[in-house]
Symmetry: C2
Subunit: 227 residues, 2 copies
Amino acid sequence: MAKLYGVGVGPGDPELMTLKAVNTIKKCSVIAFPHRKTAYEIALAACPEIKHKKLVSLELPMTKSKEEIYAAHKKAAFILEEYIKNNEDTAFLTLGDPCIYSTFMYIERIVSMHGYETRIISGVPSFCAASAAFKISLADGKKQIHISAGDDDIDEVLNYNGCRIFMKAGKSLKNINDRILKAKSKAYVAVNCTMDNERLYTDIADIIKTDGDIGYFSLVIVKDEKD
Amino acid sequence: MAKLYGVGVGPGDPELMTLKAVNTIKKCSVIAFPHRKTAYEIALAACPEIKHKKLVSLELPMTKSKEEIYAAHKKAAFILEEYIKNNEDTAFLTLGDPCIYSTFMYIERIVSMHGYETRIISGVPSFCAASAAFKISLADGKKQIHISAGDDDIDEVLNYNGCRIFMKAGKSLKNINDRILKAKSKAYVAVNCTMDNERLYTDIADIIKTDGDIGYFSLVIVKDEKD
C-alpha cells in the first residue's frame, strides 16, 4: 500500500537535506507542501526533477482559531488520502524536522487514524544550523537545553538552567532583550539561517536598534556567560 | 587555507546523513573520528571511498577526570592541526549533531584558538530520529522541549512543562521510571535508534523487567498524557 511520508527538508540550505529525504522525494509520485512554498523551494534545489511530479499546494492558514486550523488539517488529510488510495506514494515537505513544531504531525494523526500508513523522515532542526553558524555548542557535558516556540513563557524559560532556545522569535525579541539584560546572559539571533538572506547577530540589541521586525524564521539562543 | 570540519553523521542510519556531510567528507583528504568508530562506520556506509583517505582514530577516553579529558582534547587538536598546517582539509566525524553534547566542540575551541579555520556541518540529532520512529511530535503549538544528558537532574527535568528528553539514559532508566510512575506521564525509550540493533519501547517498565542495562546510545522521551 502507498504511504504518506513526512519529509523534513532541514533549515534552508538544500545541501542540509538528508540522503533519505532526497531518496524519499524521488520515489514519491506526489509532492505536497504548505502553500507558503519555502519547503518546496528547498527540495526543488536538491531534486530539480520534482517539478515533473504531481504537486499539491495545501492551504494551511496561520490563525489562532482552533476550529479553522483543524478544518484545514482535515481538508489537507483528505486531499492526501485520495492519492494514497490511488496507490501513489505521497511526500509532505516540511521545514526543519517533522517532529518539532510542524504542521505535518497534525495531518499525520488524522491520516493514520483513518488507517493509512505513514513514515517520518527526520531533518536537521533550525537550532542546530544556527548553533553551527555561530560555532557555539548548545550544551556540553551535563548542561540542559530548553526549547520554546511561544511568546508568553519567556520569563519561565529564561529562568531555566543551561541553554535556552526561542523559535519563531520575531515578535518576542524586545521582550527577550529586556529580560536578558538583567541576567548575565548572551543572546545569539539567527534570521533565515542557512537561507540566501541569512542574518546573524551576536548582540540582540543591534536588531532592536535597527528595524526590530525580523520575520518568522528567526531564532534566539540564550546562553549564560559561564557556559 | 585548509580547514577543520566538524561533520555530524546523524543518529545511525547512513541515509540520515545530509548531502553536505557526504560532500564535505568527499572533499577532505583526512578523516578523523573517535576511536569507538561508530561515526566512522556510518560515514563509510554512505561514502565507501573514505577508506582510501588518511584515517585518523583519536583516543577520546570516557572518564570523569577533567585533566585527563582536557589532555585528550588538546592532543587530538594538535594531531588535527598538523594536517591542516600541511594544507589538508580534515573532517572530524561525530554522531548526531556537532553542537549537541559532542566532543568536537571542545576540540574546535582549541583549534580555533590556535588560529585555524573551522566549519560545522549540522546533523540530525538522535531525539529527532527517536520521535520519528515512535511517530510522536516532540512539541506542538506552544509546548516546550527540555533536553538533559545528565543523571543528577532527573527530578528537576521531570518537573518541567512539556516534552522532556533524557539522552545517554542507560544508567538512569530505573530512576526515571520510579519518578514518572508518580506523574501522569508516558515514556518512550529508544535504544540504538536507526542503527541495525534498534530497539523501541513504549513502556519503560518492560526494560526494567528484563535486562535493565540498555547501553550508551539510549534515549528517553517523557510526555504528559494530555500532550
